[in-house]
Amino acid sequence: MAPPRALEEFVTEANEILETLSRELFVLDQQRGKEPDPDRLNAVFRGAHSLKGLAAMFGVDRLSRLAHRAEDALDALRLGKVPLDDRMIDTLIETLDMLQAMLARVSAGTSAPDLEVGADHLQDRLAELAKGRSLPAGDLLEQVGIDPQIRAVFTEYEEHRLRENVKKGVGLWKVRAVFGLDDFDTKLAALNARLKPLGEVVSTLPSSRPGDEASIAFDLVFGSGQSKSAIEAALDGATLSTLTTREGPVEVTPPPGPALSLPPQPRSPVPRPAPRWDDVSGSGLTPLAEPTSTSGLRLSPESSLRSLTQTVRVDIGRLDALMNSIGELLLIRSNINRLAESARQVGSGVALPKLWGQELQREARALERKLDELQKGVLDVRMVPLGQVFDKLTRLMRRLVRESGKDVDFAVSGGDVELDKLIVEELSDPLMHLLRNALDHGIEPPEVRRLHHKPSRGTIRLKAREQGNQVQLEVGDDGGGMDESRIRQVAVERGVATEEQTREMDRRDLLNLVFLPGFSTREDVSELSGRGVGLDVVKTNLARLSGLIDIDSRRGDGTTFTLTLPLTLAIIRALMVSVSGRTYAVPLSAVMEIASVRHADLQTIERREVFEVRGQTLPFVRLARVFRLPEVERERSFVVLVGLAQQRIGLAVDELIGQEDIVTKPLSGRLRAIPGVSGATELGDRRAVLVLDIGALMEELSRPQAAAS
């Protein structure tokens, strides 16, 4: 086997291929029953092909063999020899899962004897699937009268596509285009893009009648149901002629049965053992009634979706930008060197010329600007699209939905939103948790849904969108929602809150009880139409990412979780405040506004201090008191209004110091357990300053018992 370093490369690359494969397969899966897009089939085929080659090159034979079988089956598929039926899709998806499991083992450096049986089985199934019917000879293409000279240069695949077009009864055209040698590639691509919506470009052939020396001519074989004038409108200079000997849409004798679904015709020359899948049991294979159960692959749904590698794939353009910044920094360095040199030559005791100072100042400003750029550049490099995790979740949900027997649509959007790689990785598990909950407990069985006059097909949504320097994720379902009275009851039973407290709570507070540790166990919650399976864990995980989670649920309409996350953890903008002589950093993302409040204007409601801002009454929380610091008696305080959604509080501090970009570092060791502090940062004077965890603070302060302490 390859040395570790090379292996790492293999894992990264194979992973990438598998991700592409899964994306394309997912689309095919969604479009079950429809005729697959040939380009998509081709892409899946190429993926399997590259994976086979890659694995063979790195000596990962087991993986290579399975990929090879998949490639064979896909080849038969794209050539139309076998139909894309449910059995095929399921097998391909299982193969993908298996390949992923194998890759995980390779990455961990462990052998995978337990996967062997499943892999062998899949290989057999793929081989069986790849055995298609052979095509009836002497066929349609002759009937429609295509020039044998053109036919001779077609590949098997192109001939298959041409045949498909003939079967559809669309017109076959030859588009002749002449392009200049210097830009023919872009022009050709543009022509293809214009033709694509109108039909299918079956083949692009260099023209048999070449153009002059400075140009190159192509014949595009094009199948389209559009009228001649409609196609010509898209050509932009190329000429159109019919490919067949007849004008317009070809009329052919009906093909032998529906193209993709019937058993082969009796006149087929090659006998095959199992033309129909129903007959599989007769051919010595076990019946494959339940596809997932036979593969031998036991991928626990609880297994983590984290990436196998720590690698970030970086667009070369971003690296170029970094390189540029560094180049300019070097320039500034030499300028500063020159200034230092001239200062040295002036000698001591002599005042430096005014110009020198101005120049130094200019360089300092340039340095600052460039450093900002560099910092931004490095942050950019860390950003990856959420789609990476969404793809994995989609695949997992697909399987879970199939296993659950419920009828559920999974709608994903916002996969292009980018987040820090670190956050994206940490997000996968909490999201999986929430989605599983939505499926297991949120969506009701179809018969219950019909009873409530809802469409029997449920919907689970996963949505991401960018909001300033935050990202908002939504996991929602249109299921049964949560039962408030039941939450109240469970909370009291479990001692999470007293009955009196729950009566005083509004809807929102009540719903948020489900995040408290010890609120519920699985058994209790499932009868609560429920949630709560480790929701406290989800919340803790998010808090570690400086994220917040909120819940909204309506009985009968479903539940939506909203997750708010910073774009990056590495560098955040913070408001520096001081309390009792100590400095703290408040992440600016949590700060809504700042007010100055006279203590004389404070009111007390239920032993809690409150103040009013534009008619709204908000809790006045003395940070010094929360942190048990000596309080200084004063007439007025600055109040930092922090919060999310409707919930907000005012943190009273002594002084506002200003804004700064800070690099947060986690508190090491035991200090991580301290509530209200998410990390520390270093200021210019090398002091460590603590960064407040606003989410945790608000949580603590909104809990009823906090008022008493």
């Binding site: 986690p666 090491s668 520390a680 002091r687």
Partner: protein
């Protein structure tokens, strides 16, 4: 086994050399951590890392009056969970094999004798769990 012998006020203590990452000068001031246990002095900034510093005197419940400033911080090597212990000063490195006496607490392995000096030998794991306990019983 080689031990680092250090002083806490007048008393001598030792920790296995292998459990110590480094010894640094105590910083002029610490960043206090609100609501941390009393034994936690605060955090210090050590070359960009944020390290919690524990007052060993409080942790071991040593009540001898302060006569000398606590001038050094011993950094325990606990992987990613770094922990600094505030001590008076380091004496040196001694080979200590025989440790006898009673374990008065999990943090103390026992007593050893180097020359004429009695030395309390500490246990790094025990210290760590003592800190953990301080956090939970706060």
């Amino acid at each position: 086994m080689r031990h680092v012998v250090f002083r806490l006020e007048r008393d001598r203590y030792a920790l296995p050399l292998s459990s110590i990452r480094e010894v640094v000068e105590a910083p002029a001031h610490y960043t206090r951590v609100p609501r941390a246990p009393v034994s936690v002095k605060g955090v210090m900034n050590l070359r960009g890392r944020v390290v919690p510093v524990v007052d060993l005197k409080t942790l071991l419940e040593v009540t001898t009056p302060a006569i000398q400033p606590l001038g050094k911080v011993v950094l325990l090597d606990r992987g990613r969970r770094e922990l600094g212990l505030l001590i008076t000063d380091v004496d040196g490195i001694e080979s200590i094999e025989k440790v006898g006496g009673v374990r008065s607490s999990p943090a103390v392995r026992g007593l050893a004798r180097v020359g004429a000096l009695a030395i309390t030998v500490l246990d790094a794991d025990g210290l760590d769990s003592a800190v953990a306990r301080a956090f939970t019983t706060r």
